[in-house]
């Protein structure tokens, strides 16, 4: 699926102001670098070098110049940090994220701050509204990083960190865990999908609704770990699958969604994401696998 995962392609104020700071740092740093290299080159190869050859040059270049530049930079960047905070006003939406090895447990909160519905590995947000993500961890350290929208913030057991972000344009933004969490840390990704308000509201309504149907094989083999609301499946070890078919990706942001991918995942997820905590189901024959995958893909 097409998605953006670059800090240099900002789609919201958090990333945009940081990208502006980055430009200042790169241009400024580049100029300082060229200046120092020019002086070094002059010192080695130049003709009249006396002015560079004394203590005064050391004081001017090594103390005075850096102090002035760094102080100015400090003021500018402290103000920029303030601007980032100011750009995200009180949140219109709160989402709870709990980091697990190696996926993202997500629950949306309603206006009263109570749990609205659960999902996994994908956040949908309305364009132009500040969203606050509450970050917690169920096991080890993780970090929530969606570079196109904001800087990262760690998920630390025992603590709740809060990250505000906003998308100013619709799009699909890919994020990834950015704090090494063992095993297939490289494959702990997620998607943030920004939609116009109307589309977002419709999505939210559908997410609140229970699943459209139940499936006996699913209840027999998958319900121990997965929840499908509206059916007896109520396992919580793995991601909530009530509307798994509506997501753009599976496996924590690593495979485009679809019955074929789901079947492959069920049969041999260890080959795709070695070390992940879902067992492989080799004993299902082709037909059963296909039926199961069709069922999950149908949960939209």
């Amino acid at each position: 699926m097409e998605s953006v995962q670059s800090a240099l392609a900002p789609h919201g104020p958090g990333a945009a102001i940081t990208a502006e700071v980055a430009v200042v740092l790169f241009v400024g740093g580049g100029l300082v670098f060229l200046l120092v290299m020019a002086l070094a080159a002059w010192a080695v190869f130049g003709r009249r070098r006396d002015w560079l050859a004394g203590r005064a040059a050391v004081v001017a270049g090594g103390i005075a110049f850096p102090t002035v530049v760094l102080f100015a930079l400090l003021v500018y960047t402290l103000f920029a940090a303030g601007r980032i905070a100011d750009a995200h006003g009180p949140p219109a939406l709160r989402i709870g994220v709990v980091g697990e090895q190696w996926w993202w447990r997500v629950h949306y909160l309603d206006a009263a701050g109570e749990r609205d519905f659960a999902t996994a590995n994908e956040l949908r947000i309305p364009v132009g509204r500040t969203v606050e993500v509450e970050l917690r961890s169920a096991d080890v350290l993780h970090s929530f990083w969606v570079p196109a929208l904001a800087g990262k913030l760690d998920l630390i057991p025992g603590r709740t960190n809060r990250l505000r972000l906003r998308a100013d344009r619709p799009g699909v933004f890919r994020g990834q865990c950015a704090e090494y969490c063992g095993g297939p840390h490289a494959q702990m990704a997620f998607l943030v999908v920004a939609e116009e308000e109307g589309a977002f509201e419709r999505w939210r309504e559908r997410q609140r609704a229970p699943a459209s149907a139940a499936n006996d094989l699913f209840l027999a083999r998958c319900a121990a770990c997965h929840t499908v609301r509206g059916t007896p499946a109520a396992g919580t070890l793995g991601p909530d699958l009530t509307h798994a078919g509506s997501r753009l990706a599976i496996g924590a942001g690593i495979l485009p969604n679809g019955a074929g991918a789901i079947a492959g995942w069920i049969a041999s997820s260890q080959r795709i994401k070695p070390g992940n905590l879902m067992p492989e189901f080799h004993d299902l024959d082709g037909a059963a696998l296909a039926a199961l995958a069709e069922y999950v893909a149908s949960l939209e």
Partner: protein
């Protein structure tokens, strides 16, 4: 016959030296032959072995990186799966930081400092041999763990909870904790060596203001190790206690906190990178003036910059934690401090530029090329460092490939390039032939170009969204091309290093006397003609570049006209001088090679490694052998005093024995106490930090043990100190040590028992409060046990007539350590019994 030299003092030993004297000196300093060569202690040999071992680890860790880069060359690659890749990057970082970077610069200090300072050897030659062998054996076995699939996988920084037993069962992380733990101790031994060596064994006349900048850099390096390494030593111990015994320092469910680890680790980790950089900067400050054939411009500012960097670097550690959710005020403070530390580096850079401008046109020899490569790369890395100091920028760059770029720019640019410059520059000092200039240009070209090809793209890879420590990445995010280019660059670097190894094999022929000589026309003392005994006589100096300012110095030193041209006590000696003015104070007799240090080192390594794999009985046996070897080693310490002072020349007669604050072992003990105190400071921090995070597991004031449980142990501990004081008085009056020492031991043991008894209802595995109280108790017990061992040792020497009113160094060591242990235990009592009452 005195040589009349205008304005210069007469030579200390102006006449011709007696025949056979030089041969005797050579014989006394000759290395052992055959297998016994392994027992060598002379810094000329140990230094080369140490540098060689560090370079070996550099190559091994580099090969790991090549495998990683091969895996990352294309997206969704299957060369290496996550389980092996996680071991590869953990080992690459760990081996590079702990087994290469710090040992390499420490080794250069061991190799160069004595000669640079005009000493015959380091003050504790057997200690440096021990440190080397413990490091080498431990490091090799640690590295071998990757072939068994048992290498650690937690990253070089080993963050819990991932590295606790819950999420990392198995011995992999234990290998890191125990393996690296004693390598840390090896670094501390080196630091003791360097502090005492730099401050107390300089040539007469080499005041602090005339000391080579490299010596200043190593002094700051050693001081930083003393205050920074304890944090990681403690953190290592805490994590191992949690893994092995369930003491919950880092587990949230029982009052622990993962961030405690991060604070401790990064309080070490940030100074660590300056520990690595400052010696390299010191080497640059030696090479640049030689290249320019003019003294370093703004010497005092450069020294100030080194010291300032050392201090400031302890105030930055939170910049590794900008993404953990700490408050705005903290973020701003640490951002400002992290920017400020760039200023001392700026001073040094401009001092080098000014020196280059002042001197004659430099010839671009290989050391010169690596210096220019260093300037280019390190300045760029320093600038990206300022970038990541900026908090909002760091929130994007942290834990991405941008930081990988930054850290390699400053570490390879700031340390590896100067190290290669130093290899080319100082090889003539330790080899019959210099390295090839022609091949050297190729080595530099491949390494320099390869480096930028490998790492410059990573700035963009990171900002394009690629996190660190990922074994693979998907196609379609724009990272493919950047990664492929980086991989190509990595192999170019490898080609350069391989070429260097080829040249080394062809040209390096170890030599001390027959070395290639002062091919660069440098000005500092290590370039004097020398043998295994360093220089034939110990020069006196009047400036920073004695070889430039005192014509004929080399000739006079070689002819034995300066101090100590012989071995008046019949053994190995060097002059001990005052710390600031370098006025000669006494003559130190130094040990010969022997088996105990190397046996102790091998068995210390074995002890820790058997513990790692949980074979407790073999571990204990090896530990016993190690301790036995250390006792044998220690028994030969403290040679008997000589009756009369010894003539060293120039009318100077120096005592050949010293006890008390002027002795080198007193200074070593003081440094050791500073290290122990730093560890304890981290313990106090851990206690207070856990209290702020988990006040719910702390007892209320009325649930604490009664104050009698503070008063009784405190009184007993204090009384044991008094008893040692009495033993000290008795020794001074020629009376028996035994009553005082026995009383002290009984009193301390009783105090410790009372201390323990107060907490008998507490369980260390139950809560972080229990864990930290037991930590305080364990330290009291451990330090008490060591103090008792030292005191018994001194008493044994006394009983054998090897210790008396004059010859008393081992007792003084025991006494100092005893008082320290008591003081530390009293602080512990005050903390555990006093703080909760104060906090209410």
């Amino acid at each position: 016959m005195t040589t009349a030299r205008a304005g210069v003092a007469p030579l200390p030993n102006p006449g011709p030296r007696p025949p056979g004297e030089a041969e005797t000196l050579a014989r006394i300093w000759a290395p052992p032959r055959g297998l016994a060569f392994l027992t060598v202690v002379n810094n000329n040999y140990v230094g080369v072995l140490y540098v060689g071992a560090a370079f070996l680890f550099f190559v091994l860790a580099g090969i790991l990186a090549l495998v990683m880069r091969a895996q990352l060359a294309v997206p969704d690659n299957t060369l290496v799966g996550p389980s092996l890749y996680n071991q590869l990057f953990t080992m690459h970082g760990t081996v590079m930081m702990f087994l290469f970077a710090v040992p390499a610069v420490e080794a250069m200090g061991i190799l160069l400092l004595p000669n640079m300072l005009g000493a015959r050897d380091l003050p504790f030659p057997r200690l440096s041999a021990y440190a080397f062998w413990a490091y080498f054996v431990g490091g090799i076995v640690f590295f071998a763990s990757i072939f068994l699939g048992s290498a650690p996988t937690g990253g070089w920084f080993m963050n819990p909870p991932l590295t606790t037993a819950t999420y990392s069962p198995g011995v992999n992380e234990d290998f890191w904790l125990l393996g690296i733990g004693f390598i840390e101790i090896s670094a501390i031994a080196g630091a003791i060596e360097i502090v005492v060596g730099v401050l107390r064994t300089r040539a007469p006349g080499m005041t602090l203001g005339r000391m080579p900048v490299f010596a200043w850099a190593m002094l700051v390096f050693a001081a930083m190790i003393i205050f920074a390494f304890p944090a990681v030593i403690l953190a290592t111990a805490l994590l191992e206690l949690e893994r092995a015994f369930g003491w919950p320092f880092f587990s949230v469910d029982r009052g622990g906190d993962p961030l405690l680890w991060q604070h401790l680790f990064w309080f070490f980790g940030h100074p660590e990178v300056y520990i690595i950089f400052l010696p390299a900067a010191g080497m640059v400050s030696m090479i640049v003036p030689t290249m320019a054939q003019t003294p370093l411009v703004a010497y005092r500012l450069v020294v100030l910059a080194l010291v300032a960097t050392g201090f400031l670097s302890f105030g930055l550690w939170v910049h590794h934690m900008f993404a953990t959710g700490i408050p705005r005020l903290s973020l701003s403070f640490f951002e400002a401090a992290s920017m400020a530390v760039a200023i001392p580096s700026g001073i040094q850079v401009f001092a080098w530029i000014a020196t280059l401008a002042k001197g004659r046109r430099i010839r671009l020899t290989t050391p010169g090329l690596f210096i220019l490569g260093f300037l280019f790369t390190f300045v760029l890395g320093g600038l990206t460092g300022v970038m990541v100091a900026v908090v909002p920028f760091d929130w994007q760059a942290h834990d991405s490939y941008f930081v990988v770029a930054h850290l390699h720019y400053v570490l390879i640019g700031g340390m590896v390039f100067p190290l290669f410059a130093a290899f080319y520059y100082w090889l003539p000092y330790t080899s019959r032939h210099a390295l090839s200039e022609r091949l050297g240009r190729w080595v530099f070209g491949l390494m320099f170009v390869g480096f930028h090809v490998a790492f410059f793209p990573m700035h963009f890879t990171g900002l394009a969204g690629m996190p660190r420590r990922v074994y693979t990445y998907p196609a379609g995010l724009g990272w493919e091309g950047l990664n492929l280019v980086s991989t190509a660059g990595a192999f170019m670097i490898a080609a350069g290093v391989a070429l260097f190894i080829v040249d080394l094999a062809r040209r390096f022929r170890f030599a001390i006397e027959g070395n290639a000589g002062n091919v660069w026309n440098a000005g500092t003392l290590e370039w004097l003609p020398s043998g295994t005994y360093a220089t034939r006589s110990i020069p006196s100096v009047a400036s920073r570049e004695p070889l430039w300012d005192q014509p004929g110095l080399a000739r006079d030193v070689e002819a034995g006209h300066y101090y100590l041209p012989n071995a008046p006590t019949g053994g190995r000696e060097t002059i001990v001088s005052s710390p600031i003015e370098a006025a000669p104070q006494w003559l130190m007799r130094m040990p010969r090679p022997g088996w105990p240090p190397i046996v102790a080192a091998w068995f210390t390594a074995a002890f820790f490694l058997f513990l790692t794999v949980k074979w407790v009985l073999p571990a204990c046996l090896c530990g016993a052998v190690a301790i036995g070897a250390m006792l044998a080693w220690a028994w030969r310490l403290d040679p008997p005093p000589l009756a009369a002072p010894v003539e060293v020349g120039g009318g100077l007669a120096l005592p050949a024995y010293m006890s008390g604050p002027r002795s080198q072992s007193w200074w070593a003990m003081v440094v050791l106490m500073l290290v122990a105190g730093s560890v304890y400071g981290c313990v106090v921090f851990s206690y207070l930090y856990l209290w702020t995070v988990s006040p719910e597991v702390w007892p209320a004031a009325d649930r604490l043990p009664d104050l009698v449980h503070l008063a009784v142990p405190a009184a007993l501990y204090g009384a044991s100190s008094a008893a040692i004081g009495l033993a000290n008085r008795a020794l001074g009056r020629g009376r028996s040590l035994h009553p005082g020492v026995v009383a002290a031991i009984v009193l301390f043991a009783a105090g410790f028992a009372a201390d323990l008894f107060a907490h008998r209802a507490l369980s260390p595995a139950q809560s972080s409060y229990g864990a930290v109280v037991y930590l305080v108790l364990s330290l009291a017990g451990f330090f008490g046990a060591v103090s008792i061992a030292l005191a018994l040792f001194a008493t044994a020497r006394y009983a054998h007539g090897l210790l008396d009113r004059v010859r008393r160094v081992t007792f003084d060591n025991a006494r100092l350590f005893w008082h320290y242990s008591v003081g530390q235990s009293l602080v512990g009592l005050a903390l555990v019994h006093g703080f909760p009452r104060l906090a209410g």
